[in-house]
């Protein structure tokens, strides 16, 4: 067991898969010589060489388009898009090409590729470098969407993504890169589409992903001190979604709160709320409440960004108020 930062876990996860399978290649801007702008890929160029670790021109469409073509030849590319915001620059490749290829070729062409990207706020990078784009991605059939919240989850889920026959978008919460977590020794392989219950309580269920997971946990700890018990679910994967764990957790408390970093409209929590309303309506003892960033572009000032993203205090206050 080792204590690793999230950013070190990214490196370890990629290295694990590249050692295991020589078909795995890494391409992205500044990933090789510089070791990644978030220092998530240092040493990979040295270990695996320039044939497998490629610094790309600043051409996001080409990075993903080439990853698609490379996957068609049997490689298993891991393509880094530096900031998830830049997926907008190459969304044609994601939404029109990569995600639809299996379907439109009648299943004849598989694209086992991974798109990794730094997602979300917390670093004061402003509206074009801080977005939480999981809800864009969720809306594209054919794409899998994963948000690991801990170093160990990142390694296991990244490995699962690399080995998955479908394209997987791995959203790395950039606010969590410096955060440490325990990582078991040896190879880690997780399963896509399995949520994790992080704690249980009888009064409310908090559902979160990514950077909102530690906040939901802290909020739950604070509420526990006040005698309010919360179940906290880390969905870990939005597509596929672990509906069973979600519904069981809601059934156990009768109250559902989603904690979402994305702006409110069409955030993933809306889909969760819809599923719970359809499948578990009798279990609900009160309204489903969504705790989100407002429907605004994310500001860069520290005070404003903190205000916009769901904070521990806002989670706590919202839950306690709703429970009465």
């Amino acid at each position: 067991m080792a204590q690793l930062t999230y950013r070190d876990a990214v490196r370890r996860g990629i290295a694990q898969e590249m050692r295991r399978d020589e078909r795995v290649v890494l391409i992205g801007e500044d990933v090789a010589a510089a070791g990644g702008v978030f220092k998530t890929t240092p040493g990979l160029l040295e270990e695996f060489g320039p044939r497998r670790v490629l610094d790309a021109p600043i051409s996001e469409q080409a990075i993903l388009g080439a990853a698609m073509g490379a996957a068609m030849t049997g490689l298993r590319p891991i393509a880094e898009i530096m900031f998830s915001d830049f997926l907008a620059v190459c969304w044609d490749m994601v939404a029109n090409e990569i995600a639809k290829t299996r379907y439109m070729t009648d299943g004849q062409v598989s694209l086992p590729l991974v798109i990794r990207t730094a997602n979300g706020g917390g670093l004061r990078f402003g509206g074009q470098h801080s977005q939480s784009v999981e809800n864009w991605a969720m809306a594209v059939p054919g794409l899998k969407v994963v948000l690991p919240a801990t170093p160990a989850d990142l390694i296991g889920l990244l490995a699962a993504a690399v080995r998955d026959p479908d394209p997987v978008l791995v959203l790395e919460p950039k606010a969590l890169y410096p955060v440490r977590g325990e990582v078991p020794d040896g190879e880690l392989l997780d399963t896509l589409g399995r949520a994790r219950v992080l704690r249980t309580g009888g009064d409310a269920t908090l559902v979160a992903v990514g950077a909102m997971v530690p906040r939901a946990v802290t909020a739950a700890e604070r509420m526990a001190e006040q005698g309010v018990g919360c179940t906290v679910v880390d969905l870990r994967s939005l597509v596929p979604l672990d509906v069973r764990t979600l519904l069981d957790a809601v059934a156990g408390t009768g109250r559902l709160f989603t904690v979402e970093e994305n702006p409110r409209l069409c955030g993933w929590g809306a889909e969760i709320a819809s599923i719970v309303a359809e499948e578990a309506f009798p279990a609900l003892r009160g309204p489903i409440v969504r705790i989100t960033t407002p429907h605004i572009p994310l500001p860069s000032a520290d005070t404003l960004e903190d205000l916009a993203r769901p904070s521990v205090s806002r989670i706590t206050d919202t839950v306690l108020k709703a429970l009465g």
Partner: protein, 386 residues
């Protein structure tokens, strides 16, 4: 592409693929690194000693506030700073070539162009402090907000240029971008549009040799200015550390554009003396000798040498510019340190032109929530998990 020495207009002879470093023979230069004034047959430039002193002052002041900004970032007063160190001549030369009504679309490093456009450096610093998104009125300054997503602004500039021709104006537009951005699809599409629509836009590429950690060889196998020929418009490589050459070539290019002859690509061959941003450490990926060799081509030293040699600048003048630059640095430092934090409720402003029911509701919710704390907003922004 070569330049026709009689007409002052580049020929359309196709460029042949040559290594990206085969630049020097094709480099337009009016002031050598040693400060010798040389003529170029295609790009003549008449200057008065007074104008040269004014250019010198711009260069020094821009460098000074840039270095002050780097210091302020190191002291925690700015979230980030993208230094223009080494690129002062490319920016001030091209910036001064514009008429007031010519419009510029910058990247995030065009502090020298901003200066020429009359944007207060404090506005730039406010943005990098995170308290605003620029704060100047682009329509008043004819200077768009900094564009952070690489290359996008080349398309905005092209559309703007197409738009002003419909007004019958004889203004022109400059799209600033870098060597890294040249790999973006946006830039190729901007070249295509500008060419087929004869848009009055000058594509001003500051090739500072590095896109974060990636050298220009990672972006192109031919000198960047040669790309223009494939799109059907002239491309010129200019010594980007020569403010006079940058001024002359950009002025020519803007006139070419505003007289209906279509776009021009200028590649200002320069060097990013500092880090990509204060978050970057270039010692990880580039060698010190390269930096040292470019120090000998410093844009300010060569103009200073020229001014002094000609007897157009005495020590009193040089000292007055120095003093003025220190004054600017002080103003900038004090201005940044006393910038008020933005009003929390401002995050709900300008999301839509006429409001939005959800956003209005969210604003009211926040205000009510914030007012429930003794310390108001500070209490609810505890974000202690990360």
């Amino acid at each position: 592409m070569t330049v026709d020495s009689t007409a002052g207009a580049p020929t359309t002879a196709p460029a042949h693929g040559s290594p990206a470093d085969a630049g020097p023979p094709e480099l337009v230069q009016l002031l050598t690194p040693e400060g010798e004034r040389v003529d170029h047959p295609a790009y003549s430039l008449e200057t008065t000693p007074e104008e040269l002193r004014s250019i010198y002052r711009d260069l020094v002041l821009v460098r000074r506030f840039d270095s002050e900004a780097t210091s302020l970032q190191r002291q925690g007063e700015l979230g980030l700073w993208a230094s223009l160190l080494g690129q002062e001549a490319a920016q001030v030369g091209s910036g001064r070539a514009m008429r007031p009504t010519d419009y510029a679309f910058p990247t995030y490093r065009e502090h020298g162009v901003a200066w020429c456009k009359g944007v207060d450096p404090l506005n730039l610093l406010g943005m990098f402090r995170g308290v605003n998104h620029g704060g100047w009125d682009p329509n008043e300054k004819n200077f768009h907000l900094y564009t952070i997503v690489i290359g996008s602004q080349t398309l905005h500039a092209t559309g703007y240029a197409m738009g002003i021709t419909k007004d019958g104006a004889d203004d022109a537009v400059i799209a600033y971008f870098g060597d890294g951005a040249s790999s973006q699809g946006d830039v190729s599409e901007a070249f295509t549009f500008a060419s087929v629509y004869q848009a009055p836009v000058v594509f001003f590429c500051q090739n500072n040799q590095w896109a974060i950690s990636e050298p220009t060889e990672k972006q192109t196998r031919v000198p960047l200015y040669q790309r223009a020929s494939g799109f059907g418009f002239p491309g010129v490589r200019v010594d980007g550390n020569d403010v006079l050459a940058c001024l002359a070539v950009t002025r020519w290019a803007l006139d070419h554009a505003r007289t209906g002859q279509g776009p021009v690509l200028i590649e200002a061959f320069t060097y990013r003396m500092g880090a990509h941003t204060t978050s970057d450490d270039p010692t990880r990926y580039r060698i010190a000798e390269e930096l040292e060799s470019w120090k000998l081509k410093d844009p300010i030293e060569r103009l200073k040498a020229y001014l002094v040699r000609e007897g157009w600048a005495d020590s009193a003048f040089l000292e007055s510019v120095e003093a003025e630059s220190e004054q600017l640095a002080r103003r900038v430092r004090e201005g940044v340190r006393t910038m008020p934090d933005p009003d929390p409720s401002s995050i709900f402003e300008n999301v839509y032109a006429e409001g939005h029911a959800l956003v209005d509701e969210e604003r009211e919710g926040y205000l009510a929530y914030a007012s429930s704390f003794v310390g108001a907003a500070a209490e609810i922004t505890d974000g202690e998990d990360d």
